[in-house]
């Protein structure tokens, strides 16, 4: 697949801090690519560099092979969906969606194109409302429609789900994914939520302190993390004598398994999470591990004597 967006050794240094350093990545056409990391890791800065709201200190950004890092935002064929949506309060929903088309003077079938994209996000009947008259979820869809109607080469999304209440988030997440598949536009998605990133992305880059720690598919990044940071950011990790094992791979049994090494332990606490149960057990050297089991397999109680073991292939190894 051709590469639609490329960042080559991008850095953005302010006088007081280094926001990002040495960022290089390639996004393929039609891909759902995420930038994942904690607050302050530089993921939003990277997005803003691609959008054109900041200029890189060093490095190049190319869109379909053409350099764009010196172009202002209004000359780049990318569009941003902001975290707070940034809808124009003095315009109606339809006028917001038509804004970009009018700026480009593409007036010939503007009403039709606006209507079609509003139908795509199921807001066709709210065209004459003002942003203050619709709900948060609807505002997000208007922001999406406003950017999609311009058919950008890449759609940039800055934590678009974080302003929604948790109940809505899962539903909108699924809608977003199917929309992306349906429209086929390349998405560059910024989030600090690893569950979002894992469930939505084709590939993702895990960022920390201004740099990319690992880039790969969700499976790559979760099952074969290259650094301790990536391992603990993507999910929980049990550290046993320097070896990392994920809770769902940490087996807990009442009798010592034959033909395998195992560690004796005592159950300290059992946490009920609905479909899953977390069992915290203390090993004889004092360290604690958490095993995750389905609630259907939970026959344990606090103070039980148990044995902890795992498959060697589930061990996390770092460079």
């Amino acid at each position: 697949m051709p590469c639609v967006l490329e960042l080559r050794d991008i850095s953005k240094h302010y006088t007081t801090q280094k926001a990002v350093t040495g960022i290089s990545l390639q996004v393929q056409k039609g891909e759902f690519f995420s930038l994942l990391g904690p607050s302050g890791c530089g993921k939003t800065t990277t997005l803003r560099l691609v959008a054109g709201f900041e200029e890189p200190t060093t490095g190049e950004i190319a869109l379909n092979g053409n350099p764009i890092h010196h172009l202002p935002p209004y000359h780049r064929n990318v569009s941003t969906v902001f975290q707070n949506y940034a809808l124009f309060p003095h315009l109606t929903v339809r006028q917001n969606v038509e804004f970009g088309l009018r700026r480009r003077k593409e007036l010939h079938d503007i009403a039709d194109r606006a209507r079609r994209v509003l139908e795509m996000v199921q807001l066709a009947n709210k065209g004459s409302r003002k942003p203050s008259e619709i709900s948060g979820g609807e505002r997000q869809r208007v922001a999406l429609a406003r950017s999609l109607v311009l058919a950008p080469d890449v759609l940039l999304l800055d934590e678009p789900l974080s302003a929604l209440d948790p109940a809505l988030r899962k539903q909108v997440r699924a809608e977003l994914k199917s929309l992306q598949r349906q429209v086929g536009i390349t998405f560059l998605f910024v989030t600090h939520d690893q569950e979002e990133a894992l469930s939505l992305s084709d590939r993702l880059a895990v960022m920390n302190a201004g740099q990319i720690e690992q880039l790969g598919t969700p499976q790559d990044v979760y099952l074969r993390p290259r650094t301790r940071f990536v391992a603990s950011f993507l999910g929980s990790v049990n550290w046993i004598n320097g070896i990392g094992v994920r809770p769902e791979a940490t087996r807990i049994v009442k009798q010592a398994p034959a033909h395998r090494p195992s560690h004796p332990a005592t159950v300290e606490e059992i946490t009920f999470l609905g479909s899953l149960v977390h069992i915290r057990a203390q090993l004889h050297d004092g360290s604690a591990v958490t095993a995750e089991v389905s609630r259907l397999n939970n026959g344990f109680a606090p103070a039980d004597d148990v044995y902890i073991w795992w498959e060697p292939c589930d061990e996390l190894k770092f460079d």
């Binding site: 935002p73 209004y74 990318v78 569009s79 124009f88 003095h90 804004f99 700026r103 950017s147």
Partner: protein
Amino acid sequence: MLLLFAAPLTVICFYSAMTRGPYGGFSLPWTLDSYGRLADSLYFAILLRSFWIAGVSTIFCLVLGFPLALFISRAGPRKNLYLTLVILPFWTSFLVRTYAWMFLLRDTGLINTVLQKTGLIHDPLPLLYNDGAVIVGLVYGFLPFTVLPLYAALERLDPNLLEAAADLGATPWHTLTRVVIPLCAPGIRAGTILVFIPCLGAYLTPDLLGGGKSVMVGNLVQNQFTSSRDWPFGAAISLTLMALVMLLLLLFMRGNSEEGLL
């Protein structure tokens, strides 16, 4: 509050319907002649000129005030300094400042002297004692009244909106005309009212900077209560002006009912 406002207003209403006394002041019989005199072309011209000067001054205040407010809102840490500088002239006497303009504009004033000494002109320019001088004085005096509301409106603007506009293809000019200015409408409205109404009633500025040549409604009213000693006529003019302004305000506000006052 009602007493302080209603009482003088009632008195003026009564005066306007009376006749000029033999030595000035007012006396019976009741009559509405004073209102009729306003239709005279002389007085009507003064009314017209007042609206014209007030209108032009308001427009200049907006056109000059907006870039200034924009500059201040982008000034970062120096914002407060600039705002203080805008308000500072209020700490000095308005009369003194108006005299200062006379000093600048008159034939032997600073501007003409400099232009003549540098050889750019031969005879002094008639910068004083005309409508233009009055407008200059009014704009100078009332500029802060547009700068401050416009600045407040600009500060309320979400910076993401500017980025969103650029992101969607708007050049800086487009962003200014399609996003910034429409969203500053409350500030523009406030500034317009705060400048236009006082300018209409101005009498000090047209008196000093206009000489006798640029008579505005304020001067007319002032004359009636001093040298002409025709209180009923003065009262009638005042009330008519007040009625006109309230009518304008109503129309102005009606067109923006959904956004509320200011």
